[in-house]
């Protein structure tokens, strides 16, 4: 077993809203070993992006610990955090909104280096930017181009270059491919996987696309309304999903094969309920086809049902 790079313990993030307390992330625990990828899946509003932002300390957590190589990021001072942050980087979802339209490709990629005062002279800066452009597959002739001149795939490559230029160890990818077409999506996924091998990166990959997450992850965590409902090895979770929500999620994916033609499916009824002041018990109970009285009371423990496979469901044995 390789060393844990990041360890999250009882992480909570609540937001105060006029309607009450919004439980965006509620008691989430996980760890990611060095060089591995944790996939985080869930529908919109399940708290997966908030989880990513909280890890980076872009939002301060309400409770809990985030250990990065043993240092608790929640309690370290601003100065120390400044030194750690280059090691943790983020690739954002929307390559159309996350780049400054007034900076050209070269300036965009150089910005993290300048902000962190990494390079001693201009020459070194230029070399590193050129090197990074080559790594992510941006042609040299594009260095003076502005984001609006580029397509989504190239823009996302800039986003990746910006995240990687500081040579991070841990990269949080927040839906990096969901705004892209399938053929471009495949190019970016390949790039991310190649870079992981080359630079020994550790990823947390946030997405709602289950086929993407299966492809890229070693371990998968399924979230529902701020809670982690199931966590297991990527192959295991697709083979033996245990939690009713994971099962429903897997059954809902349209599969591109002739067998799925006009197939009747078991549908999950209802919609995600509000995460504001959630009721006690299992958060999925309102939509769960198997919900019983016991599901609506008390905390549902996150139990290990087979080695490495965890699930939070009070009726595991029965279903």
């Amino acid at each position: 077993m390789s060393e844990k790079l990041i360890e999250v313990k009882h992480l909570k993030k609540y937001f105060n809203t006029p309607a009450g307390i919004l439980h965006a992330v509620d008691d989430v625990n996980f760890e990611i070993p060095q060089g591995k990828t944790l996939g985080v899946v869930g529908e919109s509003g399940c708290g997966k992006s908030t989880l990513g932002r909280t890890l980076l300390q872009l939002d301060a957590p309400t409770e809990g610990e985030i250990l990065f190589k043993g240092t608790n990021l929640v309690t370290v001072g601003r100065k120390e955090m400044r030194c750690i942050r280059p090691k943790i980087q983020m690739v954002f979802q929307d390559p159309y909104a996350s780049l400054n339209g007034r900076m050209n490709v070269r300036q965009l990629i150089a910005e993290p280096l300048i902000v962190n005062k990494v390079c001693k002279n201009k020459r070194e800066l230029e070399d590193r930017v050129s090197g990074m452009m080559e790594t992510v597959g941006l042609a040299e002739r594009l260095s003076m181009a502005y984001p609006h001149e580029l397509d989504g795939g190239r823009r996302q490559r800039i986003g990746i270059a910006r995240a990687l230029i500081l040579e991070p160890e841990f990269v949080i990818c927040d839906e990096p491919v969901s705004a892209l077409d399938v053929s471009i999506q495949a190019q970016i996924l390949n790039l991310l996987m190649d870079l992981q091998e080359e630079m020994k990166l550790t990823y947390m990959f946030i997405t709602h696309d289950l086929s993407v997450v299966r492809h890229i992850s070693d371990e998968i965590m399924v979230m529902y309304l701020g809670k982690c409902v199931e966590k297991a090895d990527a192959k295991e979770i697709f083979k033996n999903p245990v939690h009713p929500y994971t099962k429903a999620l897997l059954a809902a994916i349209p599969i591109p094969s002739i067998e799925s033609c006009h197939k009747e499916r078991k549908l999950l009824r209802g919609e995600v309920v509000s995460p504001v002041n959630p009721a006690s018990g299992c958060r999925f109970a309102a939509r769960c086809p198997r919900a019983a009285e016991s599901c609506r009371q008390g905390d549902i423990p996150f139990t290990e049902i087979s080695p490495g496979h965890y699930c939070a469901c009070s009726r595991i044995g029965e279903i």
């Binding site: 053929s183 471009i184 495949a186 289950l210 890229i216 002739i258 549908l267 919609e271």
Partner: protein, 327 residues
């Protein structure tokens, strides 16, 4: 079977003083009553432009149709006057738009918006009370309690809003429904609900549907016929079986399937199509797909490929790939 819609050699261009965008280039397809046609392609392939062309909603100044016919129930929609088109649009042909967040009027209660379609196409001279009743029925049909008709769009979630948009499209019992990426903005569990609802309603009313999507999974689940579009052309066209298990294929179709991460098979690397969609303002001499094609030859660069046909399964390529299935 009677044809509801037949599109022949339709071309659509966007013309400005600076440039001409060749958005749709001589496409042909047809649709029988009760059938679903899937229009598949990536961003910029011309799917939405085709839909807007059929609806007669192209931008007035720039959108031009230099050639082609759109026969709907044997009438050419392109020759109709705007007044006559208005009677058909929203009544016999209706459309579900991609983004339910922006397709609705935020300051009108949803019941009013649904009733508006019927009020404009009131061929049976329904009274206001009858319209009101029909609105309630339609709401229940799409799975919204009728008491919510007085609410405003902001009070609905994304999936519920899409149901309202579908109710607007269906209230006049259209013969042709164009669904432009109806589930792209929604979560998978909600997507499954909406898709099965569209299919059930279609069966109930024998409506023909054009399903515009980039998701091949959605196509497999809902469509009878499929047209794969690339750079404004239909590169492969046939029944669902032809596309998924047929003998000949366009290299682009195969590339599209290979780009998808599989849910069942393990593969370390994906095999994307290299390069990008060509600039739609330049009409190349040969095949549009040639610069990205693995099997490209000199002939492909110079000569427009013919349509190869095998029992109605059409592939626009000089050298179609012979392989069973697409994977």
């Amino acid at each position: 079977m009677n044809k509801v819609l037949e599109v022949k050699n339709l071309s659509i261009q966007y013309k400005t003083d600076l440039e001409t965008v060749y958005a749709v280039n001589s496409i042909s397809f047809s649709l029988n009553a009760g059938e679903t046609l899937g229009l598949v392609g990536e961003t910029g392939a011309g799917k939405t432009t085709t839909a807007l062309g059929i609806m007669g909603l192209l931008p007035e100044r720039t959108g031009k149709v230099p050639s082609g016919e759109i026969l709907f129930e044997e009438k050419d929609l392109l020759t109709l006057k705007e007044q006559d088109m208005m009677k058909i649009r929203g009544g016999k042909i209706s459309m579900i738009f991609q983004d339910p967040m922006t397709a609705l009027n935020p300051v009108l209660p949803v019941g009013k918006q649904i009733g508006e379609a019927l009020l404009l196409h009131n061929t049976e001279n329904l009274s206001n009370d009858e319209i009101e009743k029909k609105v309630e029925e339609t709401l229940e049909l799409v799975g919204i309690p009728k008491a919510r008709k007085v609410e405003y769009p902001y009070q609905f979630s994304g999936g519920m809003r899409q149901r309202v948009v579908i109710a607007i499209a269906l209230i006049c019992n259209p013969n042709l429904l164009i669904a432009d990426e109806p589930t792209t903005a929604l979560d998978v569990t909600i997507q499954a609900q909406i898709l099965s609802m569209i299919c059930n309603l279609q069966r109930m009313y024998k409506t023909s549907v054009i399903m515009i999507t980039h998701d091949l999974g959605v196509v497999a689940e809902t469509c009878d016929k499929v047209a794969i579009m690339y750079a404004g052309e239909i590169v492969e066209y046939g029944t669902l079986g032809d596309i998924f298990t047929g003998e000949i294929h366009h290299p682009y179709t195969i590339g599209l399937f290979n780009s998808l991460p599989s849910l069942t098979k393990d593969s370390h690397r994906l095999h994307p199509i290299e390069g990008l969609m060509p600039d739609p303002t330049v009409k190349p001499e040969g095949c549009w797909f040639a610069p990205r094609c693995k099997y490209c030859t000199e002939q492909c660069k110079k000569q427009k490929p013919p349509v190869v046909e095998e029992n109605g399964h059409q592939v626009r390529c000089h050298f179609p790939v012979h392989q069973k299935g697409v994977e």
